[in-house]
């Protein structure tokens, strides 16, 4: 239940999708005192380490998946990323408050390295299918296509933004290798694109009357 509690998210306006780091700190209070956790983990506190893995595990995973790694490759990238952190935790002291950014950047680098090794297997966006065929698509198929036909860049952005807990703009930027200043606009653009595609198939996506 702990997972879904986050999935659905009560409407925590202002902190839902891409809060600034300040907003996040304020909203989470002392719960995610990353510096404190990192210090404790560096001193060998397993629980603090586990808390960091809880906190950033999904961000690291999402980064690997956003770059198109298969689940198996993604798991490798995640492992390597955490291994790097374990190795370097002592030396990262001035970055403890930006651990999410460091992890996202490292996950991205490791993902690209794995991809560069020629192992990329994730298919790109599905080629748009024959419009005539789409007329006969089931509701499920239509919904699936909305996701598949979203431009790859937007899928990537949304993939990271949907991470739980919500990443900061800095973390998103580090994961995707984009300027921080562009994240807000990109997010709005991609959500609008997604919304428009959903609206197009609205007639066929009435809630099922269960």
């Amino acid at each position: 239940m702990s997972v879904t509690a986050q999935e659905g998210g009560s409407v925590r306006c202002g902190t839902v999708l891409a809060p600034t780091p300040l907003a996040r700190k304020a909203s989470m209070g002392a719960r995610f005192d990353e510096r404190r956790l990192a210090q404790a983990a560096a001193a060998g506190d397993q629980r603090a380490w586990d808390a960091l893995v809880d906190r950033f595990g999904e961000l690291v995973w999402s980064t690997a998946r956003a770059w198109g790694l298969s689940p198996e490759q993604g798991a490798d990238a995640v492992q390597v990323t955490w291994l790097r952190l374990a190795e370097q935790l002592d030396r990262l002291q001035d970055q403890y408050e930006w651990l999410g950014v460091w992890l996202a950047a490292t996950a991205r680098r490791e993902s690209l390295r794995l991809l560069g090794a020629g192992q990329g297997t994730e298919p790109g966006p599905e080629p748009a299918s024959d419009p005539a065929a789409s007329a006969g698509l089931s509701r499920d198929g239509l919904l699936w296509r909305v996701v598949r036909e979203l431009p790859e860049r937007c899928r990537r952005v949304l993939r990271i933004l949907m991470t739980t807990p919500p990443p900061s703009h800095e973390e998103v930027a580090a994961a995707l290798d984009l300027p921080v200043a562009r994240i807000g606009d990109l997010r709005a653009h991609c959500l609008r694109d997604f919304r428009g595609r959903m609206a197009q198939i609205r007639i066929k996506t009435e809630p099922r009357d269960s």
Binding site: V3, R12, T15, D54, R55, L158, M162, L191
Partner: protein, 593 residues
Amino acid sequence: MEREVRKTVSVVFSDVAGSTTLAEQLDPESLRRAMTRYFEVARQVHERHGGVVEKFIGDAVLAVFGVPRAREDDALRAVRAAAELREALSALNADLEQELEVSLAVRTGVNTGLVLAGDGRDGQAFVGGDTVNVAARLERAAPAGQVLVGSSTYRLVADAIRAEPVPAFRVRGRLEPVHAYRLLQVTSPAGTPSRRSAPSLVGRTGELATLQAALDRVVSRRTCQLVTVLGDPGVGKSRLLEEFAGRARAQAVVLHGQCPPYGGAPTAAVVGQLVEQLAAVAPGQLRDSLADPAAVSIDPQGVFGGLRLLFEALAAERPVVVIVDDLHWAEPDLLDLLDYLHAFASGVRLLLLIAAREQLLDSLPGRSGGFGGITMALQPLPAAQAAELAARLTRPAGLDAGMAPLIAAWAEGNPLFVKEQVRHLVAEDYRHRPGADLPVPPAVEALVVAQLDRLPPDQRTALELASVLGRSFDWPAVAAVAPDRLRPRVGALLLALARRGLIRVADNRHGQDGFMFSHRLLRDAAYRAIPKQERAVLHARAAERLAGPALDALGGADEAVAHHLGQAYRHLAQLAGDEPPPRAPAVLLRRRT
């Protein structure tokens, strides 16, 4: 539409021990007759306790408790059925020995866990998965004639049974050894919920004073007074009445009736309990008229009048307090009886004290305001008191003192949730990670899901729609995401849900009818029951409604719109193969030397 849901059920797996040998001893026709009789007995026993016989596999019987609807006492029902099957078998064996010169011995395994099940809306329920496998392994490990109870079941029923642990054993395909208990006896009487030993009462001084004032008025005015205590499951109704009963015994005779959640006639059960206690305290001449409490029948004329005369006679000597707990399980005739006593008992010092969940109001047609008399809505404990309760429980349990406020906040003031969480964390040897959500103990999960499963389908749907909007929501928003068929009735459905206590009227500042889920766990459970694809569609609709017609409305400022669109995308993306990370991603043990 049929949809599969993950839900927690209890399963009973029984098999005839040595049936192969039997097959060699008996001619096929006799064997078939014996087995048919056995299957029939098994079916009756399971159904009596609310189980569904899912299938017969060879000579084995698989019964499931919790489909199509979950009940909070499914685990205890399953164990009771297993115990009763054992007893029923000895009666059957007496017959079989006479007729066929054979007797059957049955091994049984009981287990509780998550299964993937049809939601039963069209009457179908298919159950499979690891939970059933483990029950089958428990059955195989049980000696003939014995019942082995898995540890997840045991934790839910530990207060209601006697059992002894058996050595843990391994089964193929599972890393963890299976822990099990051999059932000796079910100790809590059939048809009563298992109430766990109550911790010391925290707070409730105002409520106790109200009850005491009612008793004082009854005594001073020689009158009959009815007090109804309403509240959510676990909020502490029984505990409050127990505390009050203890105090009231100094000045009154206290009789205690308890509606059983199932098992035939609740009215007869309650009347029987009351009459039995009456007989024990009644003066001589009364006692004679109560010679046979078991013979009390539910003849309105006879029993209603008779009980009134009994109470009046007793109340002439001493004030009488009659407590009836869990009245929401009652049938109309018991409600009529209480109404009758309240209306007609005159000139007597009689305090009728009723406890029930708010769903009682739904079962009172024509009594929309509840009964007459005083109605007290028992609220969750204030945060400080909940923390105090948690602290009292965590200390002896050896939990970190820092956990108490976390547990209190998680429970949102529900004392039972506090208590169950402490037990669960201790049993799980829980190690808290800063920032992590607390787990949901199985007993609490069962209670929450049972509340949802009891709802009529349209109310259930309305609650699920609301859960997409969040903990707080308003009527127009639910209407906006509702399917056409339900839209005109959304207001009525929400009011019905409020009457049941699942949601509360929250906020009318903006002229909207605002509501709020009574507990976060209710919202989470309702949300989780929606298939991901439906969640996506509903979130998208919620975003449409919030954003209005202009596509440009999403300027990055409207976080609520962004939230819903984001959730819609998230669920669709997961369906399209972008699954969430494994729950425990790559936790490296980091040992320092």
